[in-house]
């Protein structure tokens, strides 16, 4: 009788070969690299204090980077699963006898464990977050960011360790068996290596097509598994409703005033006052950190015109406060370059109609190239230091 735990040699399929692993791994690495870089961009865009100001142009920049972030993570799911399938026998490799080799072996195994753990964590938590499902107690944004660094670091370590093998495998013909595990035989039939690779690319394409419509409008109808159809009040989806934010009484009150303050000078604007000011229209996307985005036409008063009314300096950071009583984004910073951009509006209208309550009635902030969570709804005040 043999123990129920298999040995590395028990896995006979020639599909579980470095030839396949390296090719799938290359694309997986590209997806993780893309997700990491776009993740850094998103993280930086949300920093209240930026040594180098985040640019306001192109207005669709954040829409593209965050759409890519989620798309790359989604496409990585089939790639990761197939890649892990190809190396699964390694899990049962017997450790070497000699102490020096054993240490090396152990270190490598540990680095792979960290990599797999971080990779699975990033994809699972990222996907749950796109669907606004938070079945955990850690702080999502901070933890997803930290583990992103762990994942990319462990990936670099893994690439460094495997570099000679990766080079040899990528340089070999797909059908070559020179690099295979001892004991791996070509069990003819089920799939060829080319067949498995093509199916894997197909799986990544299918996963992307089924979800990417949340950020690519012309694919909305194809993306049957997208977290949003793209519809909503005034043709734009919402993330937080007025009811959830608890702002309905204050936002709809006749006593509503937008307070604009520069140092000791301040002014209050009723909705009527705001409508009486020169209006400007801008076509700007609303692009959420969860990956979805929608283009829209907004009208209202440029933020810099309002600040000029109280003699506020241009190009300085603006403290933006929502009517919300609580929440992590109740008070945010609008960097000086955003406040100064003529497209940055205190919007009153969306698509030619007054904002619906869920879109931020009586007025909301809308700025180009800015994460959706920072496009403050139900504006209460704008403040600059004198």
């Amino acid at each position: 009788m043999r123990a129920p735990v298999p040995r590395e040699e028990d896995f006979r399929s020639g599909l579980r070969s470095p030839i396949v692993t390296s090719r799938v791994g290359l694309w997986l690495g590209i997806c993780f690299g893309l997700a990491f870089v776009t993740g850094l961009i998103s993280h930086y865009a949300q920093q209240p204090h930026q040594p180098v100001p985040f640019p306001t142009s192109p207005s669709w920049g954040y829409r593209v980077t965050q759409g890519l972030h989620v798309a790359a993570g989604t496409a990585a799911v089939p790639l990761l699963l197939v890649k892990l399938w190809t190396v699964f026998p390694k899990l049962f490799a017997r450790p070497p006898r000699r102490a020096a080799e054993l240490v090396r072996h152990g270190a490598e195994r540990a680095s792979v464990a960290v990599l797999v753990s971080a990779a699975v964590f990033q994809l699972a938590t990222g996907l749950a977050n796109t669907a606004q499902w938070y079945p955990w107690h850690f702080h999502f944004r901070a933890t997803h960011y930290a583990i992103g660094w762990v994942a990319i670091g462990a990936l670099l370590v893994h690439v460094a360790v495997k570099l000679p093998l990766i080079r040899a495998a990528l340089g070999s013909d797909v059908e070559s068996t020179a690099l295979d595990r001892p004991g791996a035989a070509d069990i003819a039939g089920v799939l060829s290596r080319r067949g498995l690779l093509q199916t894997t690319w197909g799986a990544a394409a299918l996963a992307t097509a089924a979800t990417v419509g949340i950020s690519v409008p012309w694919l909305r109808r194809v993306s049957v598994l997208g977290v949003r159809s793209g519809g909503g009040p005034q043709g734009v989806p919402i993330n937080t409703s007025a009811a959830a934010a608890g702002v309905v009484p204050t936002a709809t009150s006749a006593a509503y005033r937008l307070t604009v303050r520069a140092g000791k000078r301040s002014a209050s604007f009723s909705l009527r006052d705001l409508r009486a000011m020169p209006q400007k229209t801008a076509s700007l996307p609303i692009a959420c950190v969860e990956g979805w985005s929608a283009g829209a036409t907004w009208s209202g008063v440029p933020v810099r015109d309002l600040l000029a009314r109280v003699g506020g300096r241009t190009g300085v950071d603006v403290r933006v406060t929502s009517l919300q009583a609580s929440g992590p984004y109740r008070v945010t910073t609008l960097p000086g370059n955003f406040a100064d951009d003529p497209r940055t509006l205190v919007a009153l209208d969306l698509g030619g109609e007054p904002l619906s309550i869920d879109h931020g009635f009586p007025c909301r902030l809308i700025a180009p190239d800015r994460p959706g969570v920072l496009q403050t709804k139900w504006l209460g005040s704008l403040e600059v230091a004198s």
């Binding site: 399929s13 989604t74 799911v77 089939p78 699963l81 197939v82 399938w85 699964f88 753990s117 971080a118 964590f121 699972a124 749950a128 669907a131 606004q132 499902w133 938070y134 955990w136 850690f138 901070a142 933890t143 930290a146 583990i147 660094w149 990319i152 670091g153 462990a154 670099l156 370590v157 893994h158 690439v159 460094a160 360790v161 570099l163 069990i187 003819a188 039939g189 089920v190 799939l191 067949g195 498995l196 199916t199 197909g202 799986a203 299918l206 996963a207 089924a210 049957v224 598994l225 997208g226 977290v227 949003r228 159809s229 519809g231 989806p237 919402i238 993330n239 937080t240 409703s241 009811a243």
Partner: protein
């Protein structure tokens, strides 16, 4: 040796980047780390102890009862639909749905999933038929004509 330098530089960069991530994680405090560890360890276990062995058993069982050519369409279906189903779990379960926000998770996800499964199945059938027409029948040792690929052996793959 430039190749060796590249390798060492990549290794050291990787270690430094990993350490920075661990530091960021540690900064959030023990409670946060504890909650994250559950998911960090749980994810690997779920793959290594449940998902991967299940795939191995599935493949082994399929090859016990059918010839490799007959398993092929099921393997293709598993690669295409298995990961897709896993990544669609948050929307299929609609766990994040909230009554006050009808714009979130607002599609008929199970219907969409069934449509994708049907399209994949149709694609596999058509590809299988085209392949059989191209290949000379001499390769098959089976004397009886091969029926529609798949047919009776459905439930095993459908389990995922």
């Amino acid at each position: 040796m430039t190749a060796r330098t590249t390798r060492v530089a990549t290794l050291l960069t990787g270690l430094a980047v990993t350490a920075y991530g661990v530091l960021l994680l540690a900064e959030r405090g023990w409670r946060n780390l504890e909650a994250a560890l559950t998911w960090l360890v749980g994810g690997v276990l779920l793959h290594d102890v449940v998902l991967a062995p299940a795939t191995v058993v599935l493949g082994w069982a399929a090859l016990r009862v059918a010839r490799p050519e007959r398993v092929r369409p099921w393997a293709v279906a598993l690669v295409l639909l298995g990961p897709l189903t896993l990544l669609a779990l948050p929307v299929l379960g609609r766990f994040g749905a909230r009554p006050d926000n009808p714009t979130l998770l607002d599609r008929p996800y199970w219907f969409g999933w069934i449509v994708v499964v049907a399209l994949v199945a149709a694609g596999i059938l058509i590809a299988g038929r085209a392949r059989r027409q191209h290949e000379p029948p001499s390769r098959s040792t089976d004397p009886e004509p091969v029926p529609e690929e798949g047919g009776a052996r459905g439930p095993r793959v459908g389990r995922r």
